[in-house]
């Protein structure tokens, strides 16, 4: 099954209430698979092709406001268009899931894979001080598994969550075990779990109002402080990463998503050559595993940030190591996927020398 198809099947299976999307390569299979599966006849999940990414994200905003598990998927230019809605979701604390199957940019760019939306995803992306929870799958299995995880985190923190994938993972076919079926939540469950949801003032409760607007600057600052406190809790609680061959590593490669798969081969080839390389794969990009990278930085002789972009996660590694460890970057752009040989050469040229 393709990564994009896995997203669709996982959505149906994890009790997703609604999908709203607009076609764009290389992720159109998500909506296409949902259309074929017709979940509205089985689980009751709503599937709607919207008139734009702008409408899609605002549908997710509305659905999430009303306490429903809703998602959209797109690729880089489409996700750029969604940033307004994502900022509004962050501001009004509305949960929801955005899947970005990245392609190369800027602008219309290319349909080939890329990881160049790292900044956009991990820095908020829209206006204002906010963060989106960002998960980075490196396999078709994780494409499926992260859908439910993203919804759980989004509702736990009342925050938008994103699956930051790329054209490689989206289009790649792999075996996977689909997650077990989980029913959609009932009206009673939603009322109990989401007392803030705008789905009608049941039993005459006070009205719920979801807005990101507050004209009084003192109140707006308090709201921002509340958001920042929440983000700090997420930073302390939701760091996710995987260490491979790191125990005795002298050189550390940090890579996520499809780059991590290439890096795995790089580590294997390095070890065959006698270079003690290890891989740290963040499976969440925000919050970022800064402490682990700082810790590893004290052990290794150098860190290579290997990303399929011009060097974006590099900045988070530099912040984590704070000048204590030599850090270099290797990446390709414009949709070109690097080979393991290129990465080993870069490691040698930039760090081993």
């Amino acid at each position: 099954m393709k990564g994009n198809e896995a997203i669709a099947h996982a959505a149906i299976r994890c009790g997703c209430d609604g999908y709203f999307g607009y076609p764009i390569t290389p992720q159109s299979e998500v909506l296409e698979t949902l259309a074929i599966e017709k979940p509205w006849e089985t689980t009751g999940m709503v599937v709607l092709q919207a008139e734009s990414e702008l409408a899609s994200i605002n549908m997710v905003y509305g659905a999430g406001a009303a306490g429903k598990r809703a998602m959209t998927s797109s690729s880089s230019p489409g996700v750029a268009l969604m940033q307004e809605g994502i900022a509004y979701m962050a501001g009004a604390e509305i949960p929801g899931l955005i899947v970005n199957v990245q392609r190369g940019g800027p602008g219309l760019g290319t349909i080939q894979p890329s990881q160049s939306d790292y900044f956009q995803a991990t820095r908020g992306g829209g206006n204002g001080d906010y963060n989106v929870i960002v998960l980075a799958p490196a396999s078709v299995q994780e494409m499926a598994d992260f859908v439910d995880l993203a919804f759980e985190l989004a509702f736990k923190y009342r925050n938008p969550a994103m699956i930051l994938s790329d054209g490689v993972i989206g289009q790649m076919m792999e075996k996977l075990v689909l997650p077990p079926f989980k029913p959609r939540r009932s009206e009673e469950q939603i009322q109990a779990e989401c007392p803030w949801a705008t789905c009608g003032r049941k039993n005459g409760r006070q009205p719920n109002i979801l807005t990101s607007l507050e004209l009084d600057c003192a109140k707006m600052e308090q709201k921002n402080l509340h958001l920042q406190a929440k983000y700090q809790t997420i930073r302390e609680t939701e760091v996710r990463f995987e260490n491979i061959n790191c125990e005795d590593a002298e050189y550390l490669i940090v890579a996520f998503g499809s780059a991590a798969r290439i890096a795995l081969k790089v580590v294997e080839m390095c070890r065959a050559e006698g270079i003690k390389a290890g891989l740290l794969r963040p499976s969440a990009l925000w919050p970022f595993p800064s402490r682990e990278i700082e810790r590893m930085g004290r052990q290794v002789k150098g860190i290579l940030s290997f990303e399929i972009n011009a060097g974006q996660m590099l900045e988070d590694i530099l912040l984590a190591t704070n000048g204590r460890t030599p850090v270099a970057h290797y990446g390709r752009m414009g949709g070109v996927v690097p080979t393991p040989e290129e990465v080993i050469q870069a490691l040698k040229d930039k760090l081993i020398k």
Binding site: D17, G18, F20, V46, L48, A50, E51, S52, L54, A55, S56, N58, M59, V60, Y61, G62, A63, A65, A66, K68, A70, E84, G85, Y88, A92, T198, C199, G200, R201, K202, N203, G204, P207, N208, I209, L210, T211, S212, L213
Partner: protein, 260 residues
């Protein structure tokens, strides 16, 4: 007779709708929003839908509608209310879902969302306040600003070669397969208010009976933006706005008596 003797339930001939709370409104005296808010509150109450209504407020003067009517509200990004309403209604089909939008929100920045939600036949009601100006930001040109009309961004009057023409989105909506009821009303006198109330009620009922999308345009005054007294604004509206935006039903597929 004392005040207490007069103020008895049996003497009651009129009262403020229960759902309209006591928060002081930010609307300018003479603005049509207050009257339309009252009608909306009254209708929700009369329909017994207070516990089953989800309303969507826009960006514009009505952004704070959520402060005045005691139902659940979602504040949408500028122009996106119909998309927000689409999802809520599809996921909570037994709820009364309506948007309340101004001309800039509905007919300019949100034109795509408006047309597509209406054309999909979403079972929502759209209330469209058309006062031909951007009130909230201080009186700039709107998509519905009349030719020759002066605003902060067309201070010498709207002219076609510089600004293009006013948009009749309601007429466009009437041509869409997804709309079941499209009407243009006003609230400048008692008779008009009664007709507007009937129209909004019908739109809300259509939403609940799943007949498709309804659009109720209310040609409105913005005396502050127009720089006229409330009375003169009403007069100016009757003389100028109604000529370009004639009142009445443009489409009604819910009744057999369809006198266009």
């Amino acid at each position: 007779m004392t005040e207490e003797e007069i103020m008895r339930p049996e003497n009651l001939v009129y009262k403020k709708p229960t759902l309209l709370n006591d928060t002081p409104m930010h609307y300018c005296p003479g603005c049509s929003h207050g009257v339309v808010h009252k009608l909306v509150a009254e209708i929700i109450e009369e329909m017994g839908m207070a516990e089953k209504t989800v309303a969507i407020s826009p960006v514009g003067c009505a952004v704070f509608a959520y402060n005045y009517i005691d139902v659940d509200w979602v504040e949408a990004a500028h122009g996106r209310a119909p998309a927000v309403a689409t999802a809520i209604k599809r996921l909570w089909p037994d709820r009364l879902v309506f948007t309340y939008q101004g001309d800039g929100d509905l007919a300019c920045i949100g034109t795509a969302e408006s047309i597509h939600a209406l054309n999909r036949g979403e079972h929502i009601a759209v209330i469209f306040i058309n006062n031909a100006i951007y009130g909230m930001t201080g009186g700039q040109m709107a998509p519905t600003t009349l030719m020759g009309m002066k605003t902060a961004t067309c201070p010498y009057g709207r002219v076609a070669d510089l600004h293009g023409y006013p948009l009749k989105l309601t007429e466009i909506a009437a041509t869409l397969e997804g709309t079941c009821y499209v009407t243009r009303q006003s609230v400048h006198n008692v008779a008009a208010i009664r007709r507007a109330k009937k129209a909004i009620r019908k739109a809300f009922e259509n939403s609940m009976s799943g007949k498709g999308a309804s659009l109720v345009e209310i040609v409105s005054t913005c005396n502050a933006g127009w720089k006229l007294s409330p009375e003169k604004a009403n007069q100016w509206m009757e003389e100028n706005m109604f000529k370009f935006y004639p009142l009445g039903d443009l489409k009604d597929t819910t009744t057999t008596d369809n006198s266009l």
